[in-house]
Amino acid sequence: MDTPVGEQEIKLLLNDLIELYGYDFTDYAKASLKRRINRLFTLDRFPSFAEFRYRLCNDADYAKRFVEQLTVNVTEMFRDPKFYQNLREHVLPVLATYPFIRIWHAGCSTGEEVFSMAILLKEANLLHKSLLYATDLNSQVLQKATTGIFPMSQMKQYSENYIAAGGKEDFSRYYTASYNVVKFDEELSQRMVFSTHNLVSESSFNQFQLIMCRNVLIYFEKELQGRVFALFDDSLENLGFLALGSKETLKLSPIISKYRQEGKEKIWRKIH
């Protein structure tokens, strides 16, 4: 019982994707990629690999779907509350000393992370002088992020996360509910800029005091992780912060020598 799309076939698909559409997934971690591709193959009920490949090569809309389905977009607000508490208590006071704060959310998915950050900034009275650049490879999730509209069904969990992260307000003051969705206040989204950006192929576009890239690098092989760390290093001001997901680390990268980990959470500060 082998998976319908094996390693050799995956190589073919990834090559097609680069040559025809410019998306490079070749240095993504293989086991996860293989699962995503086989999941899509089954989901879309292709009778054979040949038909799968034909569709990818000849239907640009399908190629878009392919890319969107390969990426994992799972996210939540105040994910890992202790991490956000740490940002609030240790990173924001430093950012407060700058006249203008620039933050990059790389791989922001549907935006829950960006709205969480905006809430922290607002409560620290820093939002008015901050700009949050939120990027992702997948334009569909960015579109969702731009609306600031999230399912009502998630709010109980998010509000618990918010409180566990040290939030003191009534979480529902930040949104307006209607039917089964909520819309977060324009005041929060006004300070956000959304744009597509591919960490694999695009370069640095600004200088930041804080870069958040959480649960994106786990999908990359070590060597690609290293290249992306170099990109972040290029994009981070001296004494800026780099924040990763709870299971990601800078330890394996050569840039580590320029950084110091701050506390127990996955937050590093650029010190050279």
Partner: protein, 193 residues
């Protein structure tokens, strides 16, 4: 190519999956593992998704072998006990390291036993031993089936000894299980692999 070299050398790995009622079994296994065990053991245990590391500490008290939560891109070493971190799937790459994945839950579970079992089978082939313990979930059976189809060994905790027999019973009913083991037999079984 790197991905063949593993199976050429016939490297071994033990993957253990458990859900409700399996923590005590795992602690028992750890207590009686040989201190000079020279294969890696990977444990996937369903649990609440509070990501504190107290579980691996608790497990570490039972054995002199190093016990830790698996990190992303960490190399898999013989004689080490790895625990799947809460709220991530734990995947095994063909060239002998872990990667993590936070995609959708499977059978209401993340980590999913099936995901680790399947990727272990694809990376280690006949070198894999999969062991399924007590639980109320459907997770793990498909993974065992894949291990079996790629020539690995599959073992199941005897449902009669399981606090929650559903999961091992499901495996016994649907697969040609190689070994049916009581709790006391499991550590010895691993020590002899």
């Amino acid at each position: 190519m790197a991905q063949n070299s593993l199976t050429d050398f016939q490297k071994k790995i033990v993957v253990i999956g458990g859900s409700a009622g399996s923590l005590q079994v795992i602690l028992h296994i750890l207590t009686y593992l040989r201190p000079d065990l020279n294969i890696p053991v990977v444990i996937i245990l369903h649990r609440k998704n509070d990501s504190d590391s107290s579980l691996s500490q608790l497990m570490g008290l039972r054995t002199s072998l190093p016990v830790k939560e698996a990190d992303d891109k960490e190399a898999i070493l013989p004689g080490h006990i790895y625990l799947a971190p809460a709220d991530y799937h734990l995947l095994i790459e063909t060239d002998g390291y872990f990667s993590l994945d936070d995609s959708e839950k499977i059978n209401f579970s993340r980590p999913s036993i099936d995901v680790t079992f399947q990727t272990a089978a694809e990376a280690y082939g006949a070198g894999v031993t999969g062991i399924l313990l007590s639980g109320a979930n459907a997770d793990g059976v498909e993974g065992l089936e894949i291990i079996k189809s790629l020539k690995g060994i599959i073992a199941v905790q005897d449902p009669k000894t399981a606090q929650v027999p559903y999961m091992p019973q499901h495996a016994v009913d649907s697969l040609p299980v190689d070994h049916l083991l009581t709790i006391e037999q499991i550590p010895g079984f691993i020590n002899r692999l």
